[in-house]
């Protein structure tokens, strides 16, 4: 095997190089030559090409993402901000949490099981590399038309992949999303979120400091996995007829990852590590250049020492390989032995591959010959930055003026219509029970899961002594973002924020995964710019900093892009998880209140989508001040024991919220439509900033006084009543809605349950 050395590159300055095939543009290639003062070696070219890919360099998104830093609200809780593997927030009592969401969209379309599995694996390593113990995962997912046969292939594979990896790793899955929309047909979204906890003193950063320190690569052996996957797989649009490229995919080994977690936490807690970095996209290229760039700026690597699974790999391939379950640590020379002993204990292979030096260069040798000599910053951080053109698409006006008025879309007008609509909506794939999926995930492992799906947020007990805990939710109604990306992103944030507050936790910090079409399309780029601006503005306003996230572009088939899908994750803290507010009401006589105002807002709603396949108009209005007040009420209600249940109102409106609370409790209720509202609008409008709560009778005065004092609308709309079925000749528990166009609707919970639970098994079982 002949290798292209630095010496040869100097001697033969002119040579054809396959930069185009590697995804580099001509001017990018020229810049590399300028940086180096010569042509790159083939290994250098490999490194630059993966590190300058969209996925690793954020070259199209960087100019916009800056807003998250520039508009970051001051927060005493923020210990580590954007730019590290994951942000870290202080939650008190010496504890800190880190959380982040990442996408694995394209690989999951090609090989759903492994794509989703390695998505979980990747985000978990980001969390470990901060020094935290991963304690939970969540999985926001988007699929195409539920009736399209390919959706079955993708969904069943993705779900088993997430379960297969997460269950075997021993991380409880505490929430996520499953949304169907034809816009995702060829571009499913598989986002994975991980939460980790640590004591403040355990926070670690990815930096190679200390001249003479050694760089250890440990974990799985390096094979030919996903070579070029980062630049080719993650950044190129699929042909209209599917995954023609069949790129090599990565296969995950959750057992190895479990060992890697235990081994890493042990070396960190034993004080054996100066800096640490996970290997994700761009593998060794990324880890070495980032470590060096974040440290004193010099590192030498003996690439031939890397333990290989496949001995035929070339140095270029080793540099680019995306083999999973690997980590890199920077260790003091006199601690190397101890480090290796811990690895041995956990059956994890490890080898010293490099040394930190003061050269200011990243140099790589292959069997004694130098094949890389670059300034590490130029690889890791000073990649190209694009100011891509963006423009509001012309078609948006037509879409926004196509509002779902009663004239355009037929609405139910009688009690009988309402009853039928209710049964149909409850069974809609987007609203139906997701148990068929979530029962494939372990929610109990680690024994600290306080709330998990289908609750509004997942909640984890962090400290068994004090009951300190965190709640996390992820949300996004992409139809809202398709109607107005600025407001859509804010609505996604608001929903997630509310979902955390509903459980009684105080929202603290934000992560996001921005899933969009091609950045080369000015309309998509506009959506992106608007969504980032909307989210950054909202976070500033609400005092919750963005701590990290991920961008996924090119979710597009031919020239049709997915709905812009800015998934927002909010993390909140609760000082005693025993005071959490669950979504199920509890007992007879509790009063049911609707908090917030309801307007005729059905654009982008689940009703318009499910019943009329309609998308048009303007999304619901959002007032962040009100959102903050609602959250304060919900948190105070939990803290002072004024609430026995609370549930956010979003997809499917108040109707869906009531059904879910009743089914979760298996206790019926009597509800009435307020006199000032149309029954249909009351039930299915998706106005923002609302929640339904159950208040024990003894707390009614105190609770309504609190709402009033804060100027927040609270409307009594019902009462929990386990006898209501009996009284109206329904067997078992029932939900009764009165004042519906002069009549009543009474539905057995068993019928609602059946409607809700049969949908997913019928489609995918």
């Amino acid at each position: 095997m002949t290798v292209d050395t630095v010496g040869q590159a100097k001697e033969s300055p002119v040579q054809e190089q396959p930069f185009k095939e590697l995804g580099l543009k001509a001017d990018e290639y020229e810049r590399i030559k300028e940086i180096l003062g010569r042509r790159p070696t083939s290994s250098e070219l490999a490194m630059y090409s993966v590190m300058w890919s969209e996925h690793c360099s954020y070259k199209s998104s960087k100019v916009h993402l800056r807003q998250f830093g520039e508009k970051a609200p001051h927060s005493d809780a923020l210990l580590v901000g954007i730019g590290e593997n994951a942000g870290v927030v202080d939650i008190g009592h010496g504890w800190a949490v880190t959380f982040k969401v990442e996408s694995h969209n394209h690989p999951s379309y090609v090989e759903p099981y492994q794509g989703a599995a390695t998505g979980v694996g990747g985000i978990v390593r980001d969390i470990i590399s901060m020094g935290a113990r991963p304690v939970a995962v969540m999985d926001p997912l988007r699929f195409g038309d539920p009736h399209n046969p390919d959706t079955r292939r993708v969904l069943t594979g993705v779900v088993s992949g997430i379960g297969g990896y997460g269950n075997c790793l021993g991380l409880p899955n505490i929430g996520g999303e499953i949304v169907f929309d034809p816009s995702y047909q060829g571009n499913p979204l598989v986002n994975a979120l991980c939460v980790g906890t640590m004591k403040h003193e355990d926070i670690h950063l990815a930096a190679a400091s200390g001249v003479g320190n050694l760089v250890i690569l440990y974990g799985a052996r390096t094979g030919g996995d996903g070579i070029g996957g980062v630049s080719v797989l993650a950044s190129e649009t699929f042909d209209a007829d599917g995954p023609a490229k069949r790129p090599s995919v990565q296969v995950g080994d959750p057992f190895m990852e479990k060992l890697l977690i235990e081994c890493t936490l042990e070396v960190l807690h034993s004080g054996l590590v100066e800096g640490i970095q996970d290997l994700g996209g761009a593998g060794i290229s990324c880890a070495t250049s980032e470590l060096a760039s974040n440290g004193e700026g010099g590192m030498h690597v003996w690439l031939d020492r890397v333990l290989l699974r496949d001995h035929t790999l070339s140095p270029e391939e080793i540099l680019m390989s995306e083999s999973q379950e690997r980590m890199c640590a920077v260790v003091l020379p006199d601690k190397v032995e101890e480090f290796l002993a811990v690895c041995k204990k956990w059956d994890v292979e490890a080898v010293v591959i490099g040394e930190v030096n003061a050269s200011g260069r990243l140099t790589v040798d292959w069997h004694g010959e130098q094949i890389v000599d670059v300034p590490p910053r130029s690889v890791a951080h000073d990649g190209p930055v694009y100011e891509r053109p963006y423009a509001r698409p012309e078609w948006l006006d037509a879409r926004q003026s196509d509002a779902p008025t009663a004239q355009r879309l037929a609405r139910p007008t009688t009690a009988q219509d309402i009853r039928e609509t209710l049964l149909r909506m409850v069974a809609a794939p987007n609203l139906a029970a997701k148990t068929w999926v979530t029962s494939q995930y372990d929610r109990y492992v680690m024994g600290n899961t306080v709330l998990a799906q289908p609750e509004d947020s997942g909640m984890i007990r962090v400290d068994e002594e004090t009951g300190l805990g965190v709640a996390v939710s992820t949300d996004c109604n992409a139809r809202f973002a398709a109607l107005d990306p600025y407001r859509g992103a804010q609505l996604a944030f608001a929903e997630s924020y509310r979902n955390v507050a509903v459980t009684g936790a105080v929202p603290l910090a934000v992560t996001n995964c921005l899933n969009f079409g091609s950045p080369e399309d000015p309309a998509v780029m506009w959506q992106f710019e608007q969504a980032v601006t909307g989210l950054a503005d909202a976070c500033l306003d609400m005092g919750t900093p963005v701590t990290g996230g991920n961008v996924s572009f090119y979710n597009q088939t031919a020239d049709v892009a997915i709905h812009p899908t800015p998934v927002v994750g909010v993390l909140g803290v609760i000082d005693d998880v025993n005071r959490r507010t669950p979504m199920a009401w509890h007992e007879d006589g509790e009063l049911i209140y609707l908090l917030g105002d309801t307007a005729d807002e059905l654009a982008g709603s689940e009703w318009a989508h499910e019943i009329h396949a309609h998308l048009g108009g303007l999304p619901p209005v959002l007032d962040l001040n009100k959102e903050r007040t609602l959250a304060e009420i919900l948190v105070a209600g939990s803290r002072d024991g004024m609430l026995s249940a609370a549930h956010d109102v979003s997809d499917g409106g108040v109707a869906q919220t009531l059904v879910e609370m009743a089914l979760r409790a298996d206790i019926g209720a009597r509800v009435w439509v307020p006199d000032n509202l149309d029954a249909f609008v009351f039930l299915w409008s998706e106005s923002a900033t609302r929640a339904v709560v159950a208040v024990p009778r003894s707390e009614e005065m105190r609770f309504s006084a609190m709402c009033e004092a804060r100027g927040f609308t609270s409307t009594r709309i019902g009462v929990v009543d386990s006898k209501i079925g009996q009284e109206h000749a329904v067997s078992g528990q029932a939900l009764r809605i009165e004042n519906v166009y002069g009549a009543e609707v009474t539905l057995a919970l068993s019928d609602l349950r059946e409607a809700s639970e049969k949908t997913l098994p019928a489609l995918f079982g």
Partner: protein
Amino acid sequence: MTARVGVVTFPGSLDDQDAVRAVSIAGGDAVSLWHGDANLHGVDAVVLPGGFSYGDYLRCGAIARFAPVMEKIIEAAREGMPVLGICNGFQILCESHLLPGALTRNDHLHFICRDQKLKIENNSSAWTRDYAVGQEIVAPLKNGEGGFVADDYTLDQLEAEGRVIARYLDLNPNGSRRDIAGICNEAGNVVGLMPHPEHAVEELTGPTTDGLGFFTSVLTSLLSGQAVNA
């Protein structure tokens, strides 16, 4: 005085800390045991926890059975030491032939996590004394290979000897023969159970606290000196 209950950690064990917590809540002294250490450190009983030992890529429990600590546990179990295998632990006990039968892929082919209703059918084993025969309990069940199989002769024998510890109620979640959720050996000191009692010991994190009885039972058995059926 209380008893020392060992909890083994294999590479890939996941519910070991939960088992430790359950033992402590029940009032026992939990002692962590390491798979590679052929030493039981003087414990009075052992829990083999849930998880995916060695990744469980081959057959669940197949590789763990050969761990150094297992040699000692097999020896001690034959001499009457109480051993509880939960989920993966149950699989390991079957692979080790301390219990008959085997656990196979769920009949619906999916991993399943649900709150499972069970009926306790034997309260003379070392781990079930504190229950009443016929008592109905709810505990989390979570497995991909939880279908208990054995030939009819073995099944008949288990039933005839009252060695079915617990049966699934309402729904058979994995295709187990005769709805079997747990069994014990002839002496009653070795128990294998598919559902996870260690996840049902706290109101806050479990569906019930019904699982605590397994852990208090073994302490009762040990302190009364009756770990093995008379």
